[in-house]
Symmetry: C2
Subunit: 234 residues, 2 copies
C-alpha cells in the first residue's frame, strides 16, 4: 500500500520557487520511483517545522511515522522500501559508485556553483530568511556577499574547469547512469537546477555536452524540472 | 577456451618496475576476472612494439588477433568477453557510473598526483626514455621539472584537497564499488600505486580513510599490488 509521502522543500519569497539542490535530488528520485509526493514549502528559519527529523536541513521526507533527512539516505530509503519502482542504482555496485558521484557533487560541484550563484540568492529569499542566509553563508565562505559577487567571473571559469570529468563522461553516454537517468544524474543535476532557478546566467557554454545533458534532464520525468518556477521570473 | 593474454606494461630502468597508473587499472581488472596475463616490459620510446594497436600508449592488451588499448575500453572488453569471471561493474548502471569515477581519476586525480610525483620519475626511467619523458611532460605542464619539484609542498596540500570526495565516500563504505573492490576501485587505485612505486612520499596522512583503502587494495587479489617492485628499492 502506498502511503502519502510529504517532503519539506526549500522555498523562496514565492512559495513555488523551490531552489535547493538537495531537495531536487529527492524530487527527481521520487519521480523516478513513480511515487507521488506532497511538498511543503519551507524556509531556512523554520527549524521547528522539521524538528522531528532531529536536525535543521531539508530535504526532510515524512513517510508515515518516519522523518527522514539527508538526500543520500532518503535515496537509499526509497530504493529499499520501494523496490516496485524503477531502480535508482541498478545494483549494489551501481549504488556504491553513485555514492561517489553524489559525494563529488556535494563536495566539489556545489561549492563551485555556490561561488557563482550565491550573490543572486538573497533576491529570491523570503524576508525572514535574509539575515540567516547571509550570516551562515558569509561565515562558510569566509567573505562577504559583495566580495563573492566581485569574484564571479573567475568563479565561472573555475566551475567550467570543475565539470571536466562530467563533460568528458557525457561525450560517451547520454546520462551519468548510462542510457537513462538514475540517481547518479539526480545527484549532479540538482545543482544545475538550483543555479537555473536562481540565475539566468549560463553555467556552461551552449555547445558544452553538459548543457545538452541538462536539457535532457529538464525533459525527464515528464518535464518535472523544466516546469519549475524560476526566481527571476517570479 | 581461455586464450593467453599479453599486455604491454610500462617499465622503468629495471624491467620489474611497473609504474603506469593506467596499466595498473588493467592489471587489477585482469586479476579481478581471474585471467592470467603475460606482461611485456615496455618503455615510452618503444612505439614500434605496439604499432599494431594503432597508437603509442600503454596499456595495450593483445587477445588473439585483437590489439586493444585505452584502459577503459580494455575494461569493457574484459567485462563483455569474459562474463564467466566476477563482474567489474555489477550492472549497466554500475558500468556507467564507474566511468564517471574513471574519468574523475584521469582528469582530476592523475594531474594532481603528477604534480607531486613527476620530479621522482626520471630516477626510475630507462636511459632511453629520459629525453622523451622530460620533453613531453614539461610541454604538458608548461614548466620545467625543476620548477615542478619546487612546488611539491603546495601540490601535496592540493592533492589532499582533491581527494575529498574519495575520503568522504570511504567513511561510508570499504571500497568505491561497495563491499568489495571492482573497477571503480581499480580506476582510482592505479594512481596511488603509480605514486607508491615512484616515491616513498606519503600522499595522504596515515589516519586518512584513503590510506586505509589503499592498504586494502594492496592486499586485494592475493596481494598483487603489494608485491610490485618499488623504483626506489630497485
Amino acid at each position: 500500500m502506498k502511503q502519502t509521502l510529504r517532503m519539506f522543500d526549500l522555498a523562496g519569497a514565492h512559495e513555488d520557487v523551490r531552489f535547493s539542490p538537495n531537495c531536487w535530488r529527492t524530487r527527481l528520485a521520487l519521480a523516478h520511483k513513480g511515487l507521488p509526493v506532497q511538498t511543503v514549502a519551507w524556509r531556512f528559519t523554520e527549524k521547528d517545522a522539521i524538528a522531528r527529523s532531529g536536525q535543521g536541513k531539508v530535504p526532510v521526507l515524512v513517510a508515515g511515522e518516519q522523518w527522514l533527512h539527508e538526500s543520500w539516505d532518503i535515496a537509499e530509503y526509497l530504493e529499499d522500501h520501494h523496490p516496485e519502482g524503477p531502480s535508482l542504482f541498478g545494483c549494489a555496485n551501481g549504488r556504491a559508485t553513485a555514492r561517489f558521484v553524489n559525494q563529488w557533487a556535494s563536495d566539489v560541484l556545489h561549492p563551485a556553483i555556490a561561488r557563482v550563484v550565491v550573490p543572486d540568492i538573497p533576491a529570491a529569499l523570503h524576508a525572514k530568511d535574509q539575515e540567516y542566509f547571509r550570516t551562515t553563508r558569509e561565515a562558510a565562505f569566509g567573505r562577504s556577499f559583495e566580495t563573492i559577487a566581485g569574484e564571479r567571473e573567475p568563479a565561472l571559469a573555475a566551475l567550467r574547469q570543475t565539470v571536466t570529468p562530467l563533460r568528458n563522461l557525457l561525450q560517451h553516454q547520454p546520462y551519468v547512469a548510462g542510457a537513462a537517468p538514475a540517481y547518479a544524474d539526480h545527484a549532479v543535476f540538482g545543482a544545475f537546477q538550483w543555479a537555473r532557478i536562481i540565475t539566468p546566467l549560463a553555467l556552461v557554454a551552449p555547445d558544452d555536452p553538459v548543457a545538452a545533458w541538462v536539457d535532457r534532464m529538464l525533459d525527464a520525468y515528464g518535464g518535472l524540472a523544466r516546469r519549475a518556477r524560476l526566481a527571476y521570473a517570479a
